[in-house]
Symmetry: C2
Subunit: 340 residues, 2 copies
């Protein structure tokens, strides 16, 4: 049974949302360690039915706030819920950690407490976004800036494993984000990454453009963390703005209000497709342990999905598959390989 | 009266859409030169009322297709409508050029036929996008990759002039696209550009993130052309996908279809906000002459808007304002200043 440490204090809604989500995941067969303020966590647990469930509470006296800088959180809040939870993974007491708290701090904890899988040059954050068809994995969405070609190549390799063994996609296609589909388009880094991806065993389909991300025609989109972070946040912002505008227009007259009433079910389905809550958070790939960075605004469903994703990742041995993938492609990244 | 050369052959719909748009612009007091296949252009002009309008036809025997590579189009199609139209500006016979044809070729023609305004390091393409409030200028959206800090700074300077003298914004705010709002976030290039922008006379508001682009709270967003191009195309793709999904959901039952019927006016207004046709194309800034790159899918309204934008740019002497801005900030870009 996968054992997941959950940062009970993380996210905009804290234990009130995280604890019930963790209990739900426990019902589905996940072993849960709730990490945080013991009194608060137990208070949230009290009214819930937890008989026979494998739920443990591990106390942590500090909380990383959204304003804390990742480095400060790491050094000065050693007893924070996110750091204690991550240490449980390091010590072998848990297989993975999920947090909806300060995402920079979660990434920093993962990187410095757990460390990289040997052969991984740079861990990367995989954004999973809804499309018209199956979800698309955008990697990296912000763990790295100024990525080199070998880094981009490994991002593709790691996301391929995620797509296969966590999202359940068969033979996922991998595209390289650029500003033109033809080979040779893009900047110098992208052009070199193109060659590495082409020389690999991945199902590389060449360059893709911004407009291709949401069509659902490509499963993995590889890019530098600067570009990916802009793309992810832009998408969230635009979806929100479009919903605002639509809502404003649709409630501007009684006739259109009546229309909305009649179309309510359709709007709800639309919202579900657009809503990120349906998907789990962003896995931080390449570390010695599973780390899932949940959205700060995660509701209960989103949190359950994140814990499920962590559990699936453990069950399907993504780390072994990743190590195998790295070994098979070691030649392509040798030049820059650290003495790990 | 501003004199605008219009590539009559450009865009998905060619002369059939471009010619009526040009005639409409002529009615509003723009002097028009239609460049393209003379027979086709005259055939489109024939049924339209053009008495007393200042419209000239200049023949061009070649057409750049969407598949032509920019370099090839430049070298091998010297009598193409876009190249002939751009040469009219070079020769002082027109003040600006508008084309909805192959955008790479339009940019290349602008760069190589017209040349840069002295002091401009790199011309940049300004994307103008709808938001919940006033439109936002995203610069650069694809004319450059691997931009240096001085380039990013000048993009901000050029877009400030555009926002003031073409979009009519008073004291526009300028943000630097990054992956965190705090100073010091982003990659090395962005951190250096931050300092240049801060030292300038621009109303620099610091770093902005992807999610801030569409709120309408910032007027100019500065970024490298790789990032900007991804952002622009992603926005188009996402808006399209969201509309698809909404349409599919809303027509899935007779009840929601009825609802849509009642809300039709609201949906039309929504579409107008989202629709790029409302805005002109993307101005290519920094050249000796006005160049507007229209969207290939431009309809008649979009084309009229593009010609209007070119005319406004000429009327309001944006070039003089840009030269003054460059002169005032020459110290900030000196190190990299070419011997122009």
């Amino acid at each position: 049974m996968p054992r997941i440490a959950v940062d009970a204090m993380g996210g905009d809604f804290g234990p009130h949302v995280v604890v019930p989500a963790a209990v739900e995941a426990a019902r589905e067969g996940v072993s849960i360690i709730l990490v945080g303020d013991e009194a608060q966590v137990r208070a949230e647990l009290a009214p819930l039915r937890t008989d026979g469930l494998d739920i443990e509470v591990v106390p942590a006296t500090q909380v990383v706030t959204m304003d804390d800088k990742p480095g400060d959180a790491l050094r000065r809040k050693r007893d924070s819920s996110i750091q204690v939870a991550t240490r449980l993974v390091k010590e072998g007491k848990a297989d993975g950690v999920v947090s909806a708290g300060n995402s920079g701090a979660t990434v920093a904890c993962g990187m410095f407490v757990l460390g990289r899988i040997p052969g991984v040059l740079r861990p990367a954050l995989a954004g999973i976004m809804p499309t018209e068809k199956t979800p698309v994995v955008l990697i990296d969405v912000g763990a790295n800036v100024d990525s080199k070609p070998q880094h981009l190549f490994q991002f593709g390799l790691m996301a391929d494993v995620l797509a296969r063994y966590v999202l359940g996609l068969e033979n996922p296609s991998v595209g390289l984000l650029s500003i033109g589909e033809e080979e040779g388009k893009g900047n110098a880094t992208v052009r070199e990454a193109f060659e590495l991806l082409r020389a690999s065993d991945l199902r590389f389909i060449g360059n893709v453009e911004g407009r291709d991300i949401f069509t659902g025609d490509v499963d993995v989109v590889v890019c530098d963390g600067f570009v990916g972070n802009v793309a992810l946040k832009l998408s969230e912002g635009l979806a929100k703005s479009m919903s605002h505008i639509l809502k404003k227009e649709l409630t501007s007259s009684w006739l259109s209000k009546l229309g909305v009433l009649l179309s309510l079910r359709a709007f709800k389905r639309f919202k579900r497709v657009v809503d990120y809550a349906e998907y789990g958070g962003a896995p931080l790939l390449g570390l010695k342990g599973v780390v899932i960075v949940a959205h700060g605004k995660s509701n209960e469903l989103a949190m359950v999905n994140c814990i499920r994703m962590a559990a699936t990742s453990v069950r399907n041995k993504t780390h072994e598959h990743l190590e195998a993938g790295l070994a098979a492609h070691a030649g392509l990244t040798k030049a820059d390989r650290p003495a790990a």
